[in-house]
């Protein structure tokens, strides 16, 4: 009777006040059958990592438009690791230059999605990665 859903936390770190994009991604992932926890605006890295831990999510998706990703994204990652949640599939999106994407991907982020990403691509990526991981641990 095992029925394992993909649980995703969609979070907006930092101060920017726009969450239409994050909400859209959240609802698209839901329509693909995932359970998406949306935590709202202005989350600190500690709050995001704590929520991810309490919710036992498989995936954390960060969305940022303010340009503070190089400061905030690694801090989220550090807080996750501190709580023993280094295993989550960590992805991010927003207005992020290519160079920064590469740096973050070298630093514990599974994948970054830049402007112009098709929202379906995010869902497909998560599903593919989770399938791989679950096949691996089974």
């Amino acid at each position: 009777m095992t029925e394992q859903k993909i649980r995703v936390l969609v979070a907006k770190p930092g101060l920017d006040g726009h969450d239409r994009g994050a909400k859209t991604v959240a609802s698209i992932l839901r329509d693909r059958g995932m359970e998406v926890i949306y935590t709202g605006l202005h989350q600190t890295p500690e709050m995001i990592a704590e929520a991810a831990t309490q919710e036992d999510v498989d995936v954390v998706g960060l969305s940022i438009l303010s340009g503070a990703h190089m400061e905030l994204f690694p801090r989220v990652r550090a807080e996750l690791v501190k709580r023993g949640m280094g295993h989550v599939l960590l992805v991010g999106g927003g207005i992020i230059p290519n160079d920064d994407m590469k740096k973050l991907e070298a630093d514990g982020f599974a994948k970054l999605f830049g402007p112009g990403t098709r929202t379906d691509d995010i869902g497909v990526y998560i599903e593919t990665e989770m399938k791989k991981r679950r096949a691996h641990s089974a």
Binding site: M1, T2, E3, Q4, K5, R7, A26, S27, L29, R30, D31, R32, G33, M34, E35, V36, I37, Y38, T39, G40, Q43, E46, M47, E50, A51, T53, Q54, E55, D56, R83, G84, M85
Partner: protein, 318 residues
């Protein structure tokens, strides 16, 4: 095997990540869950479980956040389970109750878990009462279980909790509608939230009158009717006082018996689910049923035949 012992050890050491994983096991029907529950079951039964139910948007999550804040001020630790609906089409869910509880996230004495209903009935998921057990075993004092926003009174929350708080608000129907929906039958405490909005006095009066007429002279618990404005942090202590009075009442009139009856109901429900899956799954009933139907038998005849088949199979095994 050792995975279970490992989790139980981290759970006993108070790691929230272990608590979270145990709830996932329950939710996913993981084969390790029954053994895990057995290993911590001696610690179940100390927490007080309060169900918070009521129509969509009545302010359940906002109230839960306020209740948690006040309970923390009394030095009680709090576990919150917030259930939101799964989409029957995609099976996915958007779990948004947590947004209203953001201030609690960084409090070490609070644990918050969002749950999708996953086809469960009555505004809960199948694993909701398991999740209550796990939080209880973790040593948390108060469990607040928020159901899916439901229009009708749902009974599952009654069997999963000790005290049921029904939250209503003005504008979402009058007292008659509340009665039609059977809300007075399940409520141990009736809360009218959003008393800052017009129409709340009328709703309060309607409910109070109905509650008294309904229960007068029966010797049964009469649900107190309390107004509050969770959005403005007003009246929360009064809601807590009403919850406390129900708790005192239950303790004085035989809590153990009430809880035992609810456990029996749980066993019945789990057995029912398991048998349904096992019996249906055994030997491709779908094919057989289709054949019988094609032969012109009514659905009732088919059920008779299946039931006969199962009971004789059980008898020969015994």
């Amino acid at each position: 095997m050792s995975e279970v012992r490992d989790l139980a050890a981290r759970f006993r050491a108070g790691h929230k990540a272990a608590l979270a994983r145990a709830i996932s096991w329950a939710e996913n029907g993981d084969p390790s869950y029954p053994e895990f529950l057995r290993s911590v079951y001696a610690s179940v039964g100390r927490a007080w479980r309060t169900g918070i139910t009521g129509p969509p948007g009545a302010g359940k999550s906002t109230l839960v956040n306020e209740l948690a804040k006040n309970l923390r001020a009394r030095d009680r630790t709090v576990g919150i389970l917030a259930v939101d609906p799964s989409s029957p089409i995609s099976g996915g869910a958007l779990l948004g109750d947590r947004i209203r509880m953001e201030e609690r996230t960084s409090d070490a004495g609070v644990y918050i878990r969002s749950m999708a209903s996953r086809g469960g009935h009555g505004g809960l998921s199948r694993a909701s009462s398991d999740a209550c057990d796990v939080i209880d075993a973790f040593g948390i004092d108060e469990v607040l279980l928020e159901t899916v926003g439901v229009g009708q009174a749902e009974y599952d929350v009654v069997s999963a909790t000790d005290t049921v708080v029904v939250v209503l608000c003005p504008g979402a129907g009058d007292g008659i509608q509340a009665m039609k929906a059977g809300i007075l039958e399940v409520a141990d405490v009736l809360v009218v939230n959003k008393v800052d909005l017009p129409g709340s006095d009328r709703l309060l009066m309607d409910l109070e009158e109905s509650a008294h007429i309904r229960h007068a002279g029966t010797g049964r618990w009469i649900p107190p009717v309390v107004g509050c404005s969770a959005g403005k942090s007003q009246g929360i202590d009064e809601v807590l006082a009403a919850m406390d009075s129900h708790r005192d009442h239950l303790r004085a009139t035989g809590l153990a018996a009430v809880r035992a009856a609810k456990r029996v109901a749980q066993v019945q429900r789990v057995l029912h689910e398991r048998l349904a899956v096992q019996l249906w799954g055994a030997g491709g009933q779908g094919e057989r049923v289709r054949a019988l139907l094609e032969a012109g038998r009514t659905p009732y005849d088919v059920v008779d035949e299946l039931a006969e088949h199962f009971t004789s199979a059980l008898r020969s095994r015994a």
